[in-house]
Amino acid sequence: MIAAFISLIGVAAILFYANRTPTLGGNFEAVSVTGAWHFADEAKDLNLLYIGYAKCPDVCPLALSYSREAVAKFSVDELKRLRVLFLSVDTEHDTPQSVAEYAKQFDPNFIGLTGSKNQIDRAVNLFGASYIVELNPKSYLGYSIAHTDRIFFLNKKGIVIDSITSPRSSEIIVEKIKEHL
């Protein structure tokens, strides 16, 4: 009887392990306008993270604009439990100051971050995102950065609980915030 019970527990444990959802995310380090920054330090109940770069004229400002429209739908009390992070992977050109200034123009509460290449690469890997710096000699800028176009929804521990790929409306962001806040 005991052996059967132990076997049953063992099978249940194996099934649980085999079927568990892989966990993405966690605490990560970056640099903000005020210096060293750790996700865990002032983590909110819900944290929206977008990974891009400030010189991106198209999908990054699109995601941040829709995020701004979305958070505007929530009350002051609700917004105390929420924050939006913009993490720049352009470690060569974006500074903590420039990214912070860029992000705040969308919403004064948006937090712009960057960091060393090691810090950024670690964060990007943590969230299953990716980026590639592509040299583009035919363009005035000389380069562009191909990057994941996704809003990650993180819990207080930085774990990804949801995401939206290529956000193209504020409504879908509002729905996700309502679902998780």
């Binding site: 198209d58 400002p61 005035y140 800028l141 191909a146 990057h147 994941t148």
Partner: protein, 143 residues
């Protein structure tokens, strides 16, 4: 007398050019005001070819920006990637939308302030003929 004829011919040529109907109609032409922390911004519009044949558009310049380029945003290996394109070809009686997340005009380093409601005169070469399209400047951080 010769001088007078030259002037008359010149005026006639200019008048004919002004009267020549553009093969395109452009609506919803807008450029986002540049934001601090970035030297690049984007412009969008809906372009309709109202002529009987395909037209080729080449972007030339958009003062006061130091550079103006046509770009396309494409998804590649799970990442959004931007690439410069040299021209747009629009078939007869077809439309083409420069839209967020797709093809767009990319503008760099304005050498003077560009503010909401300004009009940027964007210069194209359409089948070899210069044509200016006015784009209105709008803000990103405004509902």
């Amino acid at each position: 007398m010769k001088k007078l004829i030259f002037v008359a011919v010149g005026v006639l040529a200019l008048s004919l050019q002004a009267l020549a109907k553009s093969p395109i109609e452009v609506t919803d032409a807008r450029i986002f005001a540049p934001m601090k922390g970035s030297n690049a911004t984007a412009g969008y519009a809906v372009i309709k070819n109202i002529s009987q044949k395909s037209v080729t558009l080449v972007l030339k310049k958009a003062e006061p920006f130091q550079a103006a380029e046509l770009h396309e945003t494409i998804e590649k290996d799970g990442r959004m990637s931007m690439q410069r394109i040299e021209k747009l070809v629009i078939e007869a009686h077809h439309g083409f939308e420069l839209k967020p997340g797709g093809n767009h005009i990319m503008l760099f380093d304005a050498n003077k302030a560009v503010n909401e409601n300004d009009v940027i005169h964007v210069q194209f070469d359409i089948d070899g003929h210069p044509e200016t399209v006015d784009f209105k400047v709008i803000l990103r951080n405004k509902n």
